[in-house]
C-alpha cells in the first residue's frame, strides 16, 4: 500500500465518520471500496496496514445518525476486512462484528427500511464468507431466515443480492459437506473450483456438529425452493420469479451431487409450473430448463419443449410424438398474440443451441429445423401457401405472427446460427430465394433487412459451393440491391452498402472450372456492378453511408490491387473523390475510412514486389502523400492515429531488414528477441538509408510524425513518439553518438525536413530552441562538444523568419528527448487522476469545501 495514501487515510476516516450527509460525489465510496478490495486481493491485510479502519468501523456502527450511504459502506468494508480468518477473529474479539451484522441493531435504529443498509448487510456478509469461521458465524447467528425473507424484498437490488448470497451459501456449505463426507480434499477443491467465486476455499477440519449445521442449511434452502416454486396465489408470483432466478443460478453453478439433488427436488414443481402456464414466468422458466439441459434426459426433454411451438405453428412434424394434452395446452397459450410471439422468440433463440447437442438427442435432423424456420419466415410475411398446418386453431395461431418484425428478426438470427449445422447446405437455394423476397418486400423493417443481408452473407460464406444458385437468383439479387441502395432510409442504404463490401470478402467456388472467386463476383458479377453503386454512395448525405461505401470499395477493389490491375480512369476518379472526402467531409467516420482505404491499398501492394509500370498502384504514392498531409492535420484524433498507421507502413517498407529497425513498439521488444528472417531479406547500406529517409521526408512521413508528437490527444502523441524512436534507431542511433559518424552517416545527417509556420511546427521549434539553450548553457560550463551542428537546428528553427526553415532530421530526432516523452505519455494523466491518492485527496477537499458553503459556490449535479 502506498505510503502517501496510508498517511491520508486516518483523516479520510475521520471525515467520513463525522459527516452527517452523503458525499457530494456518489462514486467516491464505491471507488474507495474498490481500492480496499484491490489491496486485499494483493495479499495485504487491511487491518495491519491501516489500523485506523477498526476504529472507524466501531465508531460508525455505534453512530446510527450517520448518512445511510456511509453506514452501508461500513457494512461492506467490515466484510472485506474480515475476509481473512485472523482479521475476522480480531473483529469478533473487539465485539465489532456482532454489532455490525446484528439485524436488530439496524432495525431498532429504523435504518433497516433503507435498501442501501440491507444491501450493505448482504454484501458485507457475502464478501466475508470465504472461510469456515465466517460460515460458522452465519449458521450460528441463524442468518438464513432473514436472508430467505430478503429474497423477496421490495428492492430488486436487495432481492438479487440475497439470491446471489443464497447461492453462495449453498455452494459453500456443499463444498464443506463434501470435504467432510468424502474425506478427500481434492474433491472439495474440485467443487470449489467449479463455482469460481469460492475458488480459494480451503476448509480445515470441521466438527461433526458444524457439519450437521451445514447440512441443515442445505436442506432448508432446498426445501424453500421446492415449497415456494409454484405460486398458490397471484400475489406469490414475485416469489416464484425470484426462486426461478435462484434455481437458474444454482443449476448453472453447482455440480453433482448437489445438482442432481436440486433437480430431483424441484422437477415436479417445475413441470407443474410449466403446465400452469403463467405468462410472466415463461422466460425465467425457460432459463431454468436451459440450465438443466446439460444432462441427456433433460436435453431431449427440453429440446421437445422448445421445438413444440415451432412444430405447432409450421405444422411440420418436428416431433414425431407429442402428448395431445401437452399440444392442446401449448396451442391455447399460443392463441394469445403476446405470449405467442414471446414463446416463438424464445424457441427460435434457443433452436441453434439444440442442434449443437448430440444427434441422438434431437427429435429431428437440423435440416428439418431449417425448413421449419423458413416456413415460419414465410408465415411472417403472410405467405400461407407452404404452410402444412391443418387444424383451424393452428391457423389462428399462425396469424398471430404475421408482420411481426420481432419474430422475423429472431427467425433470421436462428437461420444465421443454423447455417453451420450438418446437412443443411441443400437448403441454400431456398434460403436465397426467401432472403431475396424479404429484401424486396416493401413492408420489411430496416432492421429486418439488415438481418436478411447478414444471413445472406453468412450462408454464402458457409456454403462455399454456389453451384445450386441459378441465374434467376442472381438477377433478383442484383435488382433488389440496386433498389435498396437508393432507399429513402439511410439505415437501409448503409446495410446494403455494407452487404456489398462483405460479400466481396467471402470466397466461394463457382460452378464452372472450380474457380475460386469472391461471392460478390459470383453473385453480382463483381466490380462492374458494385463499383458504380458504391461510388454513388460516396455522395450520400449520411456520413455513415459514405464511410461504409469507402470501406466497401476497399474490399471490392482488393482483388484488383493484388493482381496489379492496370490503371483505369475509374481508379483515378475514385482516388480523387476519396481525397476530396478526406479534406472536405464534416464527419470523422468517412475520413477515417479514407485513411483505412489507403492502408489497405498500401499493404496489399507491399505483398507485390515490383508492380507493372502502368498499374493502378502508380497512383498510390502521390495520393499517399496527400493522405499523410491532410490526415495528420485532421480534427479527429482517430484519423490522425490511422494516418500514423499509414506512416508506419511506409517506415516498415523503407527500413524492414535494416539494422536497428524494429517493427512496432521499440520499448516492448526484448533486446534478445529473435527477429524473423523475412526482415533480413533486404540488405541496406548507408546510401540506401539516405535515399529512403529522403523519400520519407518527401512523402511527408516525417512531418506527420512530428506533428503527431505534439498533439494534444494522447494516443496520437504516443504512437508518433514510438514511431519517431523507431526512426531514430535506424537513421541515427543514439548509441553511435555524433562523433562516431562515418562519412555515410554524415550524409544521413544532411537530410533535412521543413518546419513550416503552422501550429505543430512552431511547437517543435520551441522545443528545439529550449534544447539548444540548454545545450549552450552546457557548453558555457566548459564541455568540449562541437556545437556547430547541434546548435544550428535549434537556432534556425527558433528564429522562424520569413522563409520556411529546414532542420536536419537526425538532429531533430536526437534533440526531442523522445525517451522522456514516451515515459510521460505511457503513464498518461489518468494515472494521476484515477489513483487512490487522488481519490482520498478529493474526499478531503470536497468535505472541507462542503463545510464552508459560504466561500464555495454550490455545484448542483444535473446532467451531461
Amino acid at each position: 500500500m502506498d505510503r502517501e495514501c496510508v498517511s491520508l487515510l486516518p483523516r479520510v476516516c475521520e471525515v467520513l465518520a463525522a459527516s452527517g450527509s452523503s458525499l457530494p460525489d456518489d462514486t467516491s465510496l464505491e471507488k474507495l471500496l474498490d481500492w480496499f478490495t484491490e489491496v486485499t486481493k494483493a495479499g495485504t491485510s487491511l487491518l495491519e496496514s491501516c489500523p485506523c479502519l477498526l476504529e472507524f468501523i466501531s465508531s460508525v456502527v455505534h453512530n446510527t445518525t450517520l448518512d445511510p450511504s456511509i453506514l452501508s459502506f461500513t457494512l461492506r468494508l467490515s466484510g472485506l476486512v474480515a475476509v481473512t480468518e485472523d482479521a475476522f477473529t480480531v473483529l469478533q474479539q473487539s465485539s465489532v462484528l456482532d454489532l455490525v451484522f446484528n439485524l436488530q441493531h439496524w432495525q431498532e435504529a429504523g435504518l433497516w427500511e433503507d435498501p442501501c443498509i440491507r444491501i450493505g448487510w448482504i454484501q458485507g456478509l457475502r464478501t466475508m464468507m470465504q472461510h469456515p469461521k465466517a460460515l460458522g458465524f452465519f449458521v450460528q447467528a441463524d442468518f438464513l431466515k432473514p436472508l430467505l425473507q430478503l429474497q423477496t424484498d421490495k428492492s430488486l437490488f436487495v432481492a438479487s443480492a440475497a439470491n446471489q448470497m443464497l447461492a453462495h451459501v449453498l455452494l459453500s456449505c456443499q463444498s464443506v459437506s463434501s470435504v467432510e463426507s468424502n474425506g478427500v480434499d481434492e474433491e472439495g477443491e474440485d467443487v470449489g473450483r467449479s463455482s469460481g467465486s469460492i475458488a480459494d476455499l480451503e476448509y480445515p477440519a470441521i466438527t461433526v456438529e458444524t457439519n450437521q449445521d451445514y447440512a441443515a442449511v442445505v436442506t432448508a434452502i432446498s426445501e424453500c425452493l421446492k415449497k415456494s416454486l409454484v405460486p398458490r396465489k397471484n400475489s406469490q408470483l414475485h416469489q416464484s420469479l425470484q426462486i426461478l432466478k435462484l434455481l437458474a443460478l444454482l443449476l448453472a453453478q453447482t455440480r453433482a451431487p448437489l445438482w442432481e439433488k436440486l433437480l430431483q427436488m424441484v422437477a415436479d414443481s417445475v413441470y407443474e409450473l410449466l403446465a400452469a402456464g403463467y405468462s410472466q414466468l415463461v422466460l425465467p422458466l425457460m432459463d431454468v430448463i436451459l440450465a438443466a439441459h446439460s444432462d441427456l434426459v433433460h436435453t431431449a426433454q427440453s429440446a421437445r419443449v422448445l421445438l413444440l411451438p415451432l412444430d405447432i405453428i409450421t405444422g411440420l412434424n418436428l416431433l414425431t410424438t407429442t402428448a395431445d394434452e401437452q399440444q392442446f395446452s401449448m396451442v391455447e397459450q399460443l392463441k394469445n398474440k403476446t405470449s405467442c410471439i414471446s414463446m416463438i422468440c424464445v424457441c427460435l433463440t434457443n433452436t441453434p443451441q439444440i442442434t449443437l447437442t448430440a444427434a441422438d438427442c434431437l427429435p429431428c435432423p437440423p435440416v428439418l429445423i431449417v425448413t421449419a424456420v423458413l416456413s415460419l419466415l414465410r408465415l411472417c410475411s403472410g405467405d400461407f401457401s407452404s404452410s402444412s398446418s391443418s387444424s383451424s386453431s393452428c391457423r389462428d395461431v399462425s396469424r398471430n405472427i404475421i408482420g411481426s418484425s420481432k419474430v422475423q428478426k429472431c427467425a433470421l438470427e436462428a437461420l444465421i446460427a443454423l447455417s453451420g449445422s450438418p446437412g443443411v447446405e441443400v437448403k441454400l437455394p431456398e434460403v436465397v430465394t426467401l432472403l431475396v423476397q424479404y429484401l424486396d418486400n416493401p413492408h420489411s423493417d430496416p432492421t429486418v433487412l439488415h438481418k436478411s443481408y447478414q444471413a445472406l452473407v453468412r450462408w454464402m460464406s458457409v456454403c462455399s459451393d454456389l453451384s445450386s444458385i441459378t441465374d434467376q437468383h442472381r438477377q433478383d439479387l442484383l435488382q433488389v440491391a440496386t433498389k435498396r441502395s437508393c432507399d429513402i432510409r439511410w439505415e437501409v442504404r448503409d446495410s446494403t452498402v455494407e452487404f456489398l463490401g462483405r460479400l466481396a470478402g467471402v470466397s466461394v467456388v463457382q460452378t464452372t472450372a472450380e474457380e475460386v472467386s469472391d461471392a460478390s463476383v459470383a453473385l453480382l458479377g463483381g466490380c462492374c456492378f458494385t463499383t458504380p453503386l458504391l461510388r454513388a454512395a460516396l455522395q450520400d448525405p449520411e456520413s455513415y453511408v459514405r464511410a461504409s461505401a469507402i470501406s466497401a470499395l476497399a474490399q471490392t477493389l482488393a482483388a484488383s490491387w493484388q493482381q496489379g490491375a492496370a490503371l483505369t480512369q475509374e481508379h483515378t476518379e475514385i482516388v480523387n473523390q476519396l481525397l476530396e472526402v478526406l479534406s472536405r467531409d464534416t464527419e470523422g467516420f468517412a475520413r477515417r475510412a479514407v485513411v483505412r482505404y489507403f492502408i489497405a491499398w498500401l499493404s496489399s501492394r507491399s505483398s507485390h514486389s515490383s508492380p507493372p509500370p502502368l498499374a493502378s498502384s502508380s497512383l498510390l504514392m502521390p495520393s499517399v502523400r496527400s493522405v499523410l498531409s491532410r490526415g495528420s492535420a485532421d480534427l479527429d484524433w482517430e484519423v490522425k492515429v490511422h494516418t500514423l498507421e499509414l506512416a508506419e507502413l511506409l517506415l516498415h517498407e523503407a527500413f524492414s531488414g535494416q539494422r536497428g529497425y524494429m517493427k512496432g513498439n521499440p520499448t516492448q521488444t526484448h533486446p534478445y528477441a529473435v527477429i524473423p528472417d523475412t526482415l533480413h531479406t533486404r540488405t541496406h547500406n548507408e546510401e540506401d538509408v539516405v535515399g529512403e529517409l529522403n523519400s520519407l521526408v518527401q512523402w511527408g512521413v516525417v512531418s506527420a510524425l512530428l506533428s503527431g508528437l505534439v498533439d494534444c490527444d494522447r494516443p496520437v502523441a504516443l504512437r508518433a513518439c514510438r514511431l519517431l524512436m523507431t526512426l531514430r534507431e535506424v537513421v541515427c542511433p543514439l548509441s553511435l553518438g555524433a562523433l562516431d559518424a562515418t562519412a555515410a552517416m554524415a550524409m544521413v545527417a544532411k537530410v533535412t525536413c521543413e518546419l513550416p509556420g503552422c501550429g505543430w511546427a512552431r511547437e517543435i521549434r520551441k522545443m528545439l530552441a529550449t534544447k539548444a539553450k540548454d545545450a549552450e548553457r552546457g557548453c558555457s560550463v566548459g564541455e568540449v562538444v562541437d556545437c556547430d551542428d547541434c546548435g544550428e537546428a535549434g537556432q534556425e528553427a527558433a528564429s522562424g523568419g520569413g522563409q520556411t526553415p529546414c532542420v536536419s532530421v537526425c538532429e531533430v530526432l536526437r534533440s526531442l528527448d523522445l525517451d522522456e516523452r514516451l515515459d510521460v505519455l505511457t503513464r498518461s494523466s489518468d494515472h494521476v487522476h484515477n489513483s487512490p491518492f487522488s481519490l482520498l485527496q478529493d474526499i478531503l477537499t470536497a468535505s472541507s469545501a462542503h463545510s464552508q458553503p459560504d466561500t464555495q459556490q454550490e455545484v448542483i449535479v444535473d446532467c451531461y
Binding site: F157, K245, S828, V859, C863
Partner: protein
C-alpha cells in the same frame, strides 16, 4: 385490479444515469438508458442483469424510449443494444437521433483515449445501435404494437428533448425526461395535453429551488467574461460537443456585437459547423424568436466566433476559447488549461457538472495544487467559476406541468432524496394525489381502473345519433343506454329488442300497482270522471283518456275506482303503471293522495 409498475434502475432518488423500467398492461418499456461518467468500468452502465440474467433483453422489453441526447439519458444505449443484446425498437425524436451518435462518438473517443479502458463500445456499435432507432415526430401517435402506443411532446431543455405519453388500453403513463417550463434563448417551453395519465413520472433536479431566471445567470456569465477580457485575461470554457456550447456561443456572439468587442472568440475542433447544421435542420424545434428571425439572419452563423488552432493558445492578449471535453479530463481543453492555469488574470468557466477524478472536479472543490504526469505540480492561479446553464423545471415549473396534465398519481425521479421528499409533500397537499419516489431497484406499484372493452351494435349507435347525440368522440365520454350481453367471452351493448332476439328470450312486462284511499262523496263513475277532469287540468300535454271500460289512462298508467264496502264515500283508487312510466306513476299517486279539489264537477 390492473397495475402499473415503475422500477428505476437509475435516477431513483439520485441524479445519475437515468434508466426506468415501466410495466403497463403486460408491456415492458425502458425509459432512457443513461450512463454514469464517474466510473470507468461496467458500473458506468445500468446493470441489465436485473432485467434478465441470460442477457437477452429483447425477450423481455417491448421498446426503449430515449427522452433526449444527454449522455446520462442515452450513453448506455450502444452497450445495451450491441454488447448485452437488444434487438427491439428504440424510439427517440428526429433531432435526438441525429445528435445522439455525435455525442456517443465524442464520448467514446474521450474514453478510449484513456489508458486501460476496456469493454467499451466501438463506432460500428454506435452505428448499428442507431440503425435500430425509430424516429418520432411531435404529437404523432406511434403504434409500437397492437396494444402499445406512444406520443411525444415538446420538453424544452435541449434541442429535440421530448416528454412521452405511453398508453396501453385505458392505462397510461407520461415520462418527462428532463424538461423546462420557461422558454430560453433558443428553445421553447415544455407543453403537454391534459391527458390525465395514471402516473406522471417527472424529473425533480430542482425540486426545492425556485431558480433565478436564466437571464440573471446569463448576465452574470457575460459580466465575468467581460471583466476578465478587460483586464487582458484569457477565458477557457470547457464544453461537450453539442448543446450548451451552442447556447453560450449565441450569448457571447450577441454580447460582442452589442458591446463592439474586439477580443477573439475561438471554438475548437470544428464543432460549430456540425452543430449549426443540426440547428438549421431542426429549426422547427427551436423557439419562435429564432424561427422568425431565421429568414433574415441565421442565429447560428457566427461572425465573431472562429475556429481554433492549437498555436493560438500562446498568442498574447485576451481571448475566449470553447474547447472539448467538458470536464477537463483529456484532450484540448486540458492542454489549454495547463498553459493558462498559472496566470491569475485568466479564468476558466465550468458550465456543467464534473465527476470525481477529473481536473474539473478538483478545481471546483478548490484544489489549487494539481499533481500532473511526470511528477510535476501545477499551480492553479487562474479564477475558477461554475455556472450551470442547464434548463430544468424548478419546483414552480413541476407544479405547472401537473396542472397541465392532471395525472392521477405522481412519481419523482432524477433528483436528490431530501429535495424530492419536500416536493412530494407539496404535491400531495396541493393536488391530493399520491406521489411516489422509489429508490433505485425499488418498485412503485399503482393500481388502475380495469378497462373492459365492449362492442356496440350499429343500430344502437344510429338510434343514439337519431336522438340528437353527436358522433362518438373518444375525447368526450358520455353515457349510453342499452343492454349489456356477454357472448363468446366478449361483451356487447345492444338495444333491448336485439338482446331478446339474440338470446332467444321473451319480453316480460313489469307493472307497479298501488292503492290510494280518498274521501269523495260521489258515485264511482262520478269520482272517476272527477279524477279525469282533475288530471286534465294538471297534466297539460299528456294523453289522458276516459275509457268506456271504467278506467282512466294517463300514458300507460291505468286508474280504477272502487268503493269500500263499509263506507261508500271512502274510495279506493287502483293505480297500475309499467316501469317506463315509473316517474309519472309515483307523481300521480302522490297527487291523488292529496285528494280532489272541491270545485270539480
Amino acid at each position: 385490479m390492473p397495475e402499473i409498475n415503475v422500477t428505476p434502475l437509475g435516477a431513483g432518488q439520485d441524479v445519475g444515469r437515468s434508466c426506468i423500467l415501466v410495466s403497463i398492461g403486460g408491456k415492458n418499456i425502458m425509459l432512457d438508458c443513461g450512463m454514469h461518467m464517474g466510473y470507468n468500468d461496467d458500473r458506468r452502465f445500468p446493470d441489465f442483469s436485473y432485467i434478465t440474467q441470460n442477457g437477452r433483453l429483447t425477450d423481455f422489453l417491448d421498446c426503449v424510449i430515449i427522452s433526449h441526447f444527454h449522455l446520462d439519458h442515452c450513453g448506455a444505449l450502444p452497450y445495451m443494444s450491441e454488447m448485452v443484446g437488444y434487438d427491439g425498437p428504440i424510439y427517440m425524436t428526429h433531432p435526438t437521433k441525429a445528435i445522439c451518435p455525435i455525442l456517443l462518438e465524442d464520448f467514446r473517443k474521450i474514453t478510449v483515449d484513456k489508458k486501460g479502458e476496456t469493454n467499451f463500445f466501438t463506432s460500428q456499435m454506435i452505428k448499428d445501435c442507431m440503425k435500430k432507432v425509430v424516429p418520432l415526430n411531435l404529437h404523432q401517435t406511434v403504434q409500437v404494437d397492437d396494444e402499445l402506443e406512444i406520443k411525444a411532446y415538446y420538453a424544452g431543455h435541449v434541442l429535440g428533448a421530448a416528454m412521452v405519453h405511453i398508453k396501453v388500453g385505458s392505462e397510461s403513463v407520461v415520462y418527462t425526461g428532463d424538461y423546462n417550463m420557461t422558454p430560453d434563448r433558443h428553445l421553447g417551453a415544455a407543453w403537454i395535453d391534459k391527458c390525465r395519465p395514471d402516473i406522471l413520472i417527472s424529473e425533480s433536479t430542482y425540486a426545492t429551488t425556485i431558480r433565478d431566471s436564466k437571464r440573471c445567470r446569463e448576465r452574470d456569465f457575460l459580466k465575468k467574461v467581460h471583466e476578465s477580457i478587460e483586464r487582458g485575461g484569457k477565458v477557457l470554457i470547457p464544453v461537450f460537443a453539442l448543446g450548451r456550447a451552442q447556447e453560450l456561443c449565441i450569448l457571447l456572439e450577441t454580447f460582442w456585437e452589442r458591446m463592439n468587442l474586439k477580443a477573439p472568440i475561438y471554438f475548437s475542433t470544428g464543432l460549430t459547423e456540425k452543430a449549426n447544421h443540426y440547428y438549421k435542420l431542426f429549426i422547427t424545434w427551436t423557439n419562435q424568436k429564432i424561427r422568425k428571425t431565421f429568414v433574415q439572419r441565421n442565429m447560428f452563423e457566427f461572425k465573431h466566433i472562429k475556429a481554433f488552432d492549437r498555436s493560438y493558445a500562446d498568442n498574447p492578449g485576451p481571448m475566449v476559447v470553447f474547447a472539448t471535453p467538458g470536464m477537463l479530463h483529456a484532450g484540448q481543453s486540458l492542454q489549454i488549461f495547463k498553459k493558462w492555469a498559472g496566470n491569475e488574470k485568466n479564468m476558466v468557466i465550468m458550465p456543467g457538472y464534473c465527476v470525481q477524478g477529473t481536473i474539473g472536479h478538483k478545481i471546483l472543490n478548490g484544489q489549487r495544487k494539481l499533481e500532473m504526469e511526470g511528477r510535476a505540480t501545477l499551480d492553479v492561479k487562474l479564477q475558477v467559476e461554475y455556472m450551470s446553464f442547464s434548463a430544468h423545471a424548478d419546483a414552480k415549473g413541476i407544479m405547472q406541468l401537473i396542472r397541465m396534465a392532471e395525472p392521477r398519481n405522481m412519481l419523482l425521479v432524477h433528483g436528490e432524496a431530501v429535495k424530492m421528499e419536500f416536493l412530494k409533500g407539496k404535491i400531495e397537499q396541493e393536488f391530493s394525489i399520491d406521489c411516489y419516489m422509489p429508490a433505485n431497484g425499488e418498485t412503485a406499484t399503482i393500481t388502475t381502473n380495469p378497462s373492459v372493452p365492449v362492442d356496440i351494435s350499429l343500430s344502437l349507435l344510429k338510434r343514439e345519433m337519431a336522438l340528437g347525440g353527436s358522433l362518438p368522440d373518444p375525447k368526450k365520454p358520455r353515457t349510453m343506454h342499452g343492454t349489456l350481453i356477454m357472448k363468446e367471452n366478449s361483451l356487447k351493448l345492444v338495444s333491448s329488442e336485439q338482446a331478446l332476439k339474440e338470446l332467444g328470450l321473451n319480453e316480460h312486462q313489469l307493472r307497479f300497482t298501488c292503492r290510494v284511499q280518498l274521501q269523495d262523496p260521489h258515485s264511482d263513475p262520478d269520482t272517476l270522471h272527477r279524477i279525469y277532469t282533475h288530471l286534465k287540468s294538471v297534466l297539460k300535454g299528456y294523453t289522458i283518456q276516459h275509457l268506456p271500460d271504467g278506467t282512466v289512462m294517463v300514458e300507460s298508467i291505468v286508474i280504477k275506482v272502487s268503493s269500500s264496502a263499509e263506507d261508500s264515500n271512502a274510495k279506493v283508487l287502483l293505480l297500475s303503471w309499467s316501469y317506463q312510466d315509473e316517474d309519472l306513476g309515483s307523481f300521480l299517486s302522490t297527487l291523488l293522495k292529496k285528494g280532489l279539489p272541491s270545485g270539480l264537477c
